[in-house]
Structures are given as structure tokens and as C-alpha cells.
Amino acid sequence: MSDDISPSAVRDSAADETAANTSHATHDVNSNHSDDSGGSSDAQSDVKSNATSDDGSHATDVVEPEAPAPAPPPMAVWTIREPDEPWCPEAFLEPLTRALGKDMADRLLARSPHERGEHAQQGDWTITGALKRGRRHAHVGAFNEDALFVHLGASRGVLVVADGAGSSAYSRIGSTVAVEIVGAALRNAAALNEAAAHDAMERAVSALQAIATGAKVDAKALRTTVLVAAWEPSATGTRVLTMQVGDGALVLAHQDGRVSRPTAGDAGEWSGEVHCFVPDSETMTYARKATVLTDVPDLAALLLVTDGVDDAMYPFPKYAPLILGQLVHGADAPLTGLNAQPVTPSLLASNAPGDVLLTWLGFEKRGENDDRTLAVALHRSAPQAIAPWAP
């Protein structure tokens, strides 16, 4: 496994809590690295605390009686539990197979529901994606509800991430089916345009509604966000198609180091609330409003995340250049605001980028324990365009 986090690398009392919190990562190893079988030795294992250690510089000549130390505040102790029910309950098996086809359904059922890293390289582009069950779900024996689709063909790339709604009982199935349907539709579309994006989303809505009907549940039980990016070469650079329903974040990085956000995520007044999920009746209204087709002359990278990352690094456009800097050049210190973060090498220097990204997703921030998914596409210009992360 890649995320062999060493508590010995964690310093000070604040980070002791972190060490306790990371213990699950050491054991949560149902990884299915479909494209990373080459090993993960370069996915480094240390966790570095953001807090400073006591270096003894407060020493004094006067020895005073020690006051009793105040009791330390209770620490969050996280455990890991396997879910009691199967990822796909029996009532869903037949409708799932009918919606996706037997081969795809079998492939989904065979892989780890908890974490996965994927990677592909072709021509000018490298894509890497990973998803990881959050501590909150692991603690109560719930499934990861995020989903990830990555594709890199000779001329077209497609990344799709999704986050099943926590209030929906089978959102893990909803998010997984949605990314597969949308991803496959855009991979196979004759042309990359708004019509192709909307057709892909309509297919996902229809598939989720059919599965809900077949399994005899309300379609709201499958609610999920969907965040899409697809790109291919154009006469003036790169044609980029993006679409979003729900929260999460998507940014483009340019060769001058700027980042831009084609679609703003849907967020309510309070955390964790959005106005519409797939397959709600207003899905296509929200999808059409948040579909952008643009020619980008200087595209260096695309970055998509679910809210498990976005919420922990908010506002995301501010953190996106720093995250990309870590992914492209390596991370050896925690980003500002994180309690701790694993040390990871550059995705581009690794022979197991999926594992590296999975390890990167093991960052720690108080209160942020949701499932996490990140997908990134790096153009060959990315190492020059994106500045290294420096504390």
C-alpha cells in the first residue's frame, strides 16, 4: 500500500491527535490500483505536522514549582469498520446490469469501493485520479460515496468526479453509475460540444431513474453531484468542455500560472447543501446553466475535486495553484491551514502516480473527514507553467 503513514514523523501534542486520526489509513488498504501495479515505493509515507515543535528555547534560570497541567481536551479517536451490507444490494443488481451492461457492471462490482488510484499517459497529456473513503464513513462502517472516471485517448481526455449525497441511502450507486455513463458518453461522442455534454447528462439521469424504478426506491435515494471535464486539440489550442451539477470544484491552469474556474460550484448558505442533485427533475436546467465550451490557447492543467477536497481547501481557486504545485513538483510540507499532510513526490516523477495521489488525499484537517476525490490532467508544459509549492 502507498499510504503507510508513520506516526513517528508527527510532532507535538496537536499532531498527536493527528497520529491517532491517521491510524485508519495504515489499515484501510482495499486498494485497487488498476493502472498502478508497478508498485508504490515512491509514494512517500511521512506525515508532517503544520504545528511547530517546542525547541526548548523557553528555558529559564528560575526553577518554579510546576503547576498541574490542565487536562488535555478529549481527542477524536477514529476507527475503521467494514460496511454490514453489500456495496450493491440484491435489489439493485439486475437494474444496474441493465443500465451499464454486464461487463461494466461486473467490473464495478469487482473493484474496491473504498479507495482507488488511476493513471494514464498519452501524447502531451498525463491524467491521474484517486478517490478515498473519508474517516467519517470508515468510522461508522459506511461506504465511500464518491466516484471517479478517467479516460485518455489518442485525441480526447475525459475526467468525471461525483459525490453521492450523504442524505441519500444509495448515493454510492448513483455517483458510480453517473460517472460511468457520463464518462463513456463523452468518450464516444462524435464531437465535443454542449449537445454532447447534455446528452451525456440526460443518459445519466435516465439510467439512475431506471435503476431506482428497477430497485423499487425513490430516485432521490441515488442523488449525486457530477463534475465533468473533456478536452481535445483544437485549431487554436485545446477545446475544453466542462459541466457541473452540485458542488465540488473544477479549475483550469494556464501556462502563465493563472487559474480560471469555468463553472462555479452550486453551494447553499450552509455547508453541505446544494440546490440540485442528479437525477432531480431540475438536473438538466442546472446542467445547461453550468456547461461551458471554450478554446483555451494556453492550457497547462485541469483539476477536478469533490467537496471532500474543496471544502477543506476553500476558496478552491486560491488553493488550486498550490495543490497543482504539490502534485507537479512534490509536497514536502503541509499546505497552510492543514493539520498534517503526507510527503509525496511529483506525480510526473513517479512510476505509480495513482498511489501517490491516493497518499496525497490523506491530508488532515480538523472537521474535514468526508470522502475525497481528485482528478488532474497535466499537459507537458505543466512543469514550467506551474510553480513549485513552497511553505
Partner: protein
């Protein structure tokens, strides 16, 4: 990057009719709730508790405080049931203490509010504040009518989530605070909801407590 909170407000009736076993049971219930939440890692990292009371007037006895730093308060019951002042102070606490999402700041989770009352309001202003709470939907509010003297219809004007605790025994209060604890844990688990302020899904109420339709 700031820590997002799940704010939990308990607005308790401390009028004279709560003297004796009821107020002692509320205090014990708050202690029990605190202990329960200290056993839940997500609650430790995100839940914040505040205790407000109303009798002759309203008081915020404990401001919004993270679970690990929370000290269960001493409460005393006396006076009339100035329900309106309690609702006013609740709205004021929302404005003062809650963080809403902006382009730069990730807001709190939608707050959870538990209102306990064993009687009928003695003030005349409460409908105005009840209307504000109903219209603004600033929180998921659960009101509990304690005993047979509580005015369920009044509570229904504040929130559609009204539960009835038939008895005011220590066991009944204990069961109620277990329900509060389960609600907080469930809310912090099931993040991801539609932002329309619609009724939340509550855990099943314990025996002796029924949901008022």
C-alpha cells in the same frame, strides 16, 4: 481555511413550573448529551453547543462552544414563560455567532435547534419571532412539548418538527437527550442535502416520545 462547525442550540424553558425534577433532569440530560458527543470523533471535531434559557427573560447561559471545551451549566427554574424573549435571543445568537458561506469563507453546517417547553407562553411577542424563524428557516428546529401542559400548537408555529414527551420523569428526559445526541450524530454524518431548508430526517424517537404530525 477555517473549521466548519455544526452549531447545536438548546433553548430550554426554565420557568417556575420546571422547578424540581424537570430542571434537574434537563441539567442531567445536558451532561449526558455532552458525554455522548465526546465519544463521537466527528462531533468532537465539528459540533458546537450553546445553551439558552427563557423564564422571566432569556439568557444565553453558554455561548456556542466546541464540545471538547463545553462545561454543562447550572440551571435554575423560576418565573414566567417568556417564550418570545427566548426566540428573540435565539435569532440574535444566529446573527451574532453563525458563519454563512461566502466566496471566501465556507460556512457552518445548518444549525440544529432543540426547544424544550412545558407550558404556554406568558408574553405576547412570541408569534412575531416564531414567524421570523418559520420564514427565514435559519436552522433545523425540533421543538419538544414536555408533559401534558405544554402547548403543542404554539410550538407548531415555530417548526413543523414537534415531538411530544408525555411524561416529565428523569427517564423521559434521559430518553429525549439520547434522541438529541443521535440527531446531532446523524446530522454530522449525513452531510449533503438540498438547500431548501426542508424538514430533516430525524432518528426514530425513543419510547415515550412521539412525533406530533
Amino acid at each position: 481555511m477555517t473549521t466548519r462547525r455544526l452549531p447545536v442550540f438548546i433553548l430550554a424553558d426554565v420557568s417556575g413550573s420546571m422547578q424540581g425534577t424537570p430542571i434537574e433532569s434537563v441539567k442531567a440530560g445536558i451532561r449526558q448529551l455532552h458525554r455522548d458527543l465526546l465519544g463521537d470523533p466527528q462531533a468532537i471535531e465539528s459540533a458546537y453547543l450553546s445553551i439558552l434559557t427563557f423564564g422571566n427573560s432569556a439568557q444565553q447561559v453558554v455561548p456556542l462552544t466546541e464540545v471538547a471545551q463545553f462545561n454543562p451549566p447550572e440551571l435554575q427554574a423560576s418565573g414566567v414563560t417568556n417564550f418570545g424573549d427566548g426566540l428573540r435571543l435565539l435569532l440574535e445568537s444566529f446573527d451574532r455567532e453563525l458563519v454563512r458561506t461566502t466566496a471566501d469563507v465556507k460556512g457552518d453546517w445548518r444549525p440544529l435547534v432543540f426547544i424544550l417547553s412545558d407550558g404556554a407562553p406568558t408574553d405576547v411577542d412570541w408569534p412575531m419571532y416564531a414567524q421570523q424563524l418559520r420564514e427565514r428557516r435559519p436552522a433545523n428546529i425540533i421543538a419538544v412539548a414536555c408533559g401534558d401542559q405544554a402547548d403543542v400548537n404554539v410550538l407548531k408555529q415555530v417548526t413543523e418538527n414537534v415531538i411530544l414527551m408525555q411524561e416529565m420523569s428523569p427517564d423521559a428526559f434521559r430518553a429525549f437527550f439520547s434522541f438529541v445526541s443521535a440527531s446531532v450524530k446523524q446530522t454530522s454524518q449525513k452531510v449533503g442535502a438540498v438547500a431548501d431548508g426542508s424538514a430533516i430526517t430525524l432518528p426514530p424517537p425513543p419510547p415515550g416520545i412521539t412525533i406530533v404530525p
